[in-house]
């Protein structure tokens, strides 16, 4: 047996039962689902009828429960299942929820909370104020440990192959923390400026807000922070990190994958050399992305993010032998040579002068070769991004006519559809369902292209429409230049003898570790996957660096998890959180097509600061925590742990005490009273927070406008003794807690008028009636009347319409500037589902049934399971503690009886 007893719930009853049992010498497992023990009592202002400070009474009990030698406390934990063990005891599954904070390290300093960039309503202050997602529940929390609310990974972040935390940097932009936003992107990818312009933005496609409009322009926001940062920092602010390792790494290729791998390996403390065959670094970023999409000075600045770490860049240095690199002392090698080889159409005339490959055409333009196309007719064959880039580039070089020819439909074009639309707007003509069959010329130059029309004949295995030529549909058209852009392939022939290639020429490597058959040799980027997006190559470079680092350190690659994430949050879950999400309409700006085809200046215009802030403000915080990492950076104890996951433990326990407490009636169900609609109609628990020493406002203020209330009404029996709202029972405590609040209000606001609308006053406990008389004597006005309706006047005051019972039921109206609904208590019945092999019986109001209430107050329908406190029904605090004491005694008797049996 691990524990003699498990107590579920650490409110005042659970704590009392646990401490009593612990004092008797029993080993107790005390499980609380909140991050702190104390239940509702610790959140109260004072207790009736003594007006003792609730905190002053609760905190010693909390400390006693937390530090008791016989009590093991599990906060932020949930009992998932309880089963009988066949001999009178139980087997319990208890889940430790991930707080994403190492409680052993957390000092409760709240630095994480102050640094956090996302706010949510504070449930511990009844939604009267915000709290941060990283938070300590309340000032007197025991234990005083922070937790992070995380619903999962935001769809934008989850979609990014490079693991860039889009939700995080948007959250920082929203705060105006542009430098921090840049740094957050930089932590996951060194090529911030390039991605901000040329990434095809999987994040955007997955953004929940795309379903309801006004989604933040995620990629454009990334560009904004890159531009903002680069304008202020021509060079990186950092230098080479302290070298931690002697083992050297060679990276072949300086495209996105090679640069990314080099960056992360260098950050990890490895000496890295990049070998680049071309004269300048950057790979496709430099050679194939036109200047109007990605200015080369941005690529240069991005590359300096890598070289600033001490990465040596050897350009114009092709590698022809991997063995030679090994002999030169490199312990590991990464092949990241991309896919620079253009595929051919394999049709007659393809080698004619005037027929060029798209990638070579773009490279020649990028390196400054003068290509005059003024007045020329150009056809570009292909439907991918290279084809669209080539077409738009031809227009900028002065071509009179540019046709983009593709053999399938527009929907099947692999190019980014925003780019296709931009090309059309600039004047590129689309020739869809058309395919070249021959290039014709006079032997010296291209003169015409012979094509055939195509038709669709159903879907391919990959879902795209398959096309076949239409017989007899061939036609010719005159062109001066044909650009073929029908795909790219790897060019690893030089290294073919030293590594295994796939049939398509890509490098054969393990999909997870990116390690090849030679343990020291890894491969990443397009060289492995074939042509892909920049961000995918960056992600694979980062992944390769992770596994290369492990291999170089002699660590196992088996079971090593790269960049673990929580499951993605669904759009449905996010949209269900709120009725609606108001937004700001922010449109991206771009140069007019007629203007932009005259030069190679950027098409997309940057966001202004105001536009960036507005666009970021539309983010829905899908993951709740944005993963901005500010808490982690702020924590002096290094306690934040984003990799923490739920942990479930099994325990054998001798008995169970259910002390799961109650919930408050949701006041908005009283539709005529306006709670949730009228700002100055609040619940009594909200008022208790307002009059508590740790109140959410600086004083007792009405939530509508911050004015000190002068005329306050209480509406009794709001959601109790009311069959129309399914809660027919008297909640027992509402009269008394309201009288307590009335007294406190008269102390805080001596000139205020307090009116209590009631059916009757139930003051039945010791000293309660005296307390009522005292309240009356203090000047509180009691009106015997049932409230029909509350309406809001202009300015926020409230008209209470009531039936005055003492005046023969006359209907009257009275104006108040704040109305407090004395809401009832309802059951917290989730405990019923915990018992897998026995039924925990509930009464008709869903509280735990007490089959022997008169003589056996804590017994439940399950032998060995006892109830304590308000889990059984409404009780005031003294009665709750008394009941918990009885539960402890009955539990002890049961444990002893079981011991004797065995």
């Amino acid at each position: 047996m691990d524990y003699d007893v498990m107590v579920i719930g650490a409110g005042i009853a659970g704590m009392e039962a646990a401490v009593s049992l612990g004092d008797m010498g029993y080993k107790v497992l005390l499980v609380e689902r909140e991050p702190s023990i104390g239940g509702k009592m610790i959140l109260l202002s004072k207790v009736f009828p003594t007006l003792d400070c609730a905190s002053c009474i609760s905190t010693p009990k909390m400390a006693q429960a937390a530090s008791h030698a016989n009590i093991d406390l599990r906060v932020y934990s949930e009992v998932r299942e309880v089963r009988g063990d066949g001999s009178g005891g139980f087997r319990a599954k208890v889940a430790q929820k991930p707080a994403f904070v190492d409680f052993a390290k957390c000092t409760g300093c709240q630095d994480c909370e102050k640094a956090c960039t996302v706010t949510v309503p504070d449930e511990y202050n009844e939604g009267l104020v915000s709290r941060r997602v990283a938070h300590i529940a309340f000032p007197q929390a025991v234990p005083k440990k922070a937790v992070l609310d995380r619903a999962g990974t935001s769809p934008c972040t989850f979609a990014c192959p490079a693991g860039i935390k889009a939700n995080g940097y948007i959250s920082l932009i929203r705060q105006g923390e542009f430098a921090k936003a840049f740094q957050l992107v930089l932590e996951d990818a060194p090529l911030v400026g390039s991605l901000g312009r040329a990434c095809y933005a999987y994040c955007q496609r997955e953004c929940t807000r795309e379903e309801i409009g006004d989604a933040p322009h995620i990629r454009h926001l990334k560009r904004f922070v890159a531009d903002w940062y680069y304008a202020r920092h021509a060079e990186p602010e950092y230098g080479p990190p302290a070298r931690k390792h002697d083992k050297k790494v060679a990276v072949i290729g300086s495209g996105p994958a090679g640069l990314s791998a080099a960056y992360f390996l260098a950050l990890d403390g490895y000496p890295v050399t990049i070998f680049e065959a071309d004269a300048e670094a950057g790979g496709m970023l430099r050679s194939s992305l036109p200047e109007y999409r990605l200015p080369k000075d941005v690529v240069d600045r991005d590359i300096r993010n890598v070289t600033a770490l001490g990465v040596e860049l050897r350009t114009a240095t092709p590698v022809e032998s991997l063995a030679r690199l090994r002999r030169d002392g490199y312990d590991a090698v990464l092949v990241a040579i991309g896919t620079p080889k253009p595929k051919k159409l394999l049709v007659p005339g393809e080698d004619l002068p005037g027929v060029a490959s798209g990638i070579e055409f773009l490279a020649e333009v990028a390196c400054g070769q003068k290509i005059a196309l003024s007045g020329k007719r150009v056809i570009v064959v292909g439907g991918g991004n290279v084809a669209v880039d080539a077409a738009r580039t031809a227009l900028r070089l002065g071509a009179a006519k540019v046709v983009l020819q593709y053999r399938r439909t527009r929907a099947e074009m692999p190019a980014f559809h925003e780019e296709i639309a931009a090309a059309e707007a600039e004047g590129v003509e689309l020739a869809l369902l058309s395919n070249p069959v021959a290039f014709a010329g006079d032997g010296h130059r291209l003169q015409s292209v012979r094509s055939v029309r195509m038709k669709t004949v159903g879907a391919d295995v990959d879902g795209r429409q398959r096309t076949i030529p239409v017989p007899g549909s061939e036609y010719s058209a005159d062109f001066d230049l044909a650009i073929v852009a029908v795909g790219l392939s790897a060019e690893a022939a030089a290294l073919r003898q030293e590594m295994r290639l796939n049939r398509d020429g890509t490098v054969r490597a393990d999909a997870r570790t990116l390690q090849t058959e030679s343990p020291w040799l890894f491969a990443a980027g397009d060289a492995v996957t074939g042509p892909a997006m920049i961000v995918q190559a960056i992600g694979l470079g980062k992944q390769a660096a992770f596994f290369m680092g492990r291999w170089l350190r002699g660590e196992s690659l088996d079971n090593a998890e790269f960049a673990p994430q929580l499951p993605v949050v669904s759009h449905e879950e996010v949209l269900a959180r709120q009725k609606d999400y108001p937004s700001l309409n922010v449109e991206k700006s771009e140069r007019h097509p007629a203007e932009r085809i005259k030069d190679f200046a950027e098409v997309d215009l940057p966001f202004t600061e105001a536009e960036a802030l507005a666009s970021a403000a539309n983010c829905l915080n899908c993951g709740i925590c944005s993963e901005c990492q500010e808490c982690k950076k702020a924590c002096p104890a290094d306690a934040i742990d984003f990799d923490q996951r739920e942990k479930v433990d099994d325990y054998d326990v001798g008995a169970v005490v259910v002390a799961t407490g109650f919930r408050l009636f949701p006041a908005e169900r009283l539709a005529n009273f306006g709670f949730g609609r009228f700002a100055n109609v609040i619940s009594a628990m909200q008022m208790d927070r307002l009059v508590a020493p740790t109140r959410p406002f600086n004083y007792v203020l009405r939530p509508g406008d911050g004015r000190t209330p002068a005329n306050i009404a209480y509406v009794f029996c709001a959601g109790s003794r009311d069959r129309t709202v399914d809660n027919p029972i008297c909640s027992r405590v509402c009269c008394m807690y309201s009288l307590k609040q009335a007294q406190l209000l008269l102390g805080a606001l001596p000139v205020a008028d307090v009116t209590i609308y009631n059916i009757d006053i139930r003051a039945f406990g010791k000293g309660y009636d005296e307390f009522y008389e005292q309240t009356r004597a203090m000047g509180v006005r009691f009106v015997k009347g049932k409230i029909a309706r509350i309406t809001e006047k202009e300015g926020g005051n409230l008209l209470v319409r009531y039936e005055d019972i003492d005046d023969n039921g006359t209907v009257r109206e009275a104006e108040h500037d704040l109305v407090v609904l004395s809401v009832g208590i309802v059951a917290q019945d989730e405990c019923r589902a915990l018992f897998a092999d026995a039924e925990l019986a509930l009464d008709e109001t869903l509280f735990v049934a007490q089959p022997g209430k008169q003589v056996d107050p804590a017994r439940t329908s399950i032998p060995g399971v006892f109830s304590a406190g308000t889990a059984t029904g409404p009780l005031d605090i003294p009665d709750s503690i008394l009941h918990a004491g009885a539960a402890a005694a009955q539990t002890a008797a049961y444990i002893e009886k079981m011991k004797r049996k065995t």
Partner: protein, 92 residues
Amino acid sequence: MKDNSRERFPESVAISGRRRETARQEFAVRARVLGLLRERGPLTVPEVALALGIPAPDALWWLMGFVRYNQVRASEKADDDGYYRYALVEVK
């Protein structure tokens, strides 16, 4: 009647519903509120609401969030109309 409490008595809008939206906007509006207080000095909730064209309940809610994290402080006493004034806490 529903046979479980969560269905019979759903979570209160006090900590869900519209308040979630107000919370979501808090950081987005912070610079405007703090900028206003920097420019005009201590203001009441209705004055902040009027100046920024935002609902007074939201203005109060956000100001209290800023008070909580020590970016704004309240005056010691309310004025004759019962309103406190809120001032920017200057970071040294």
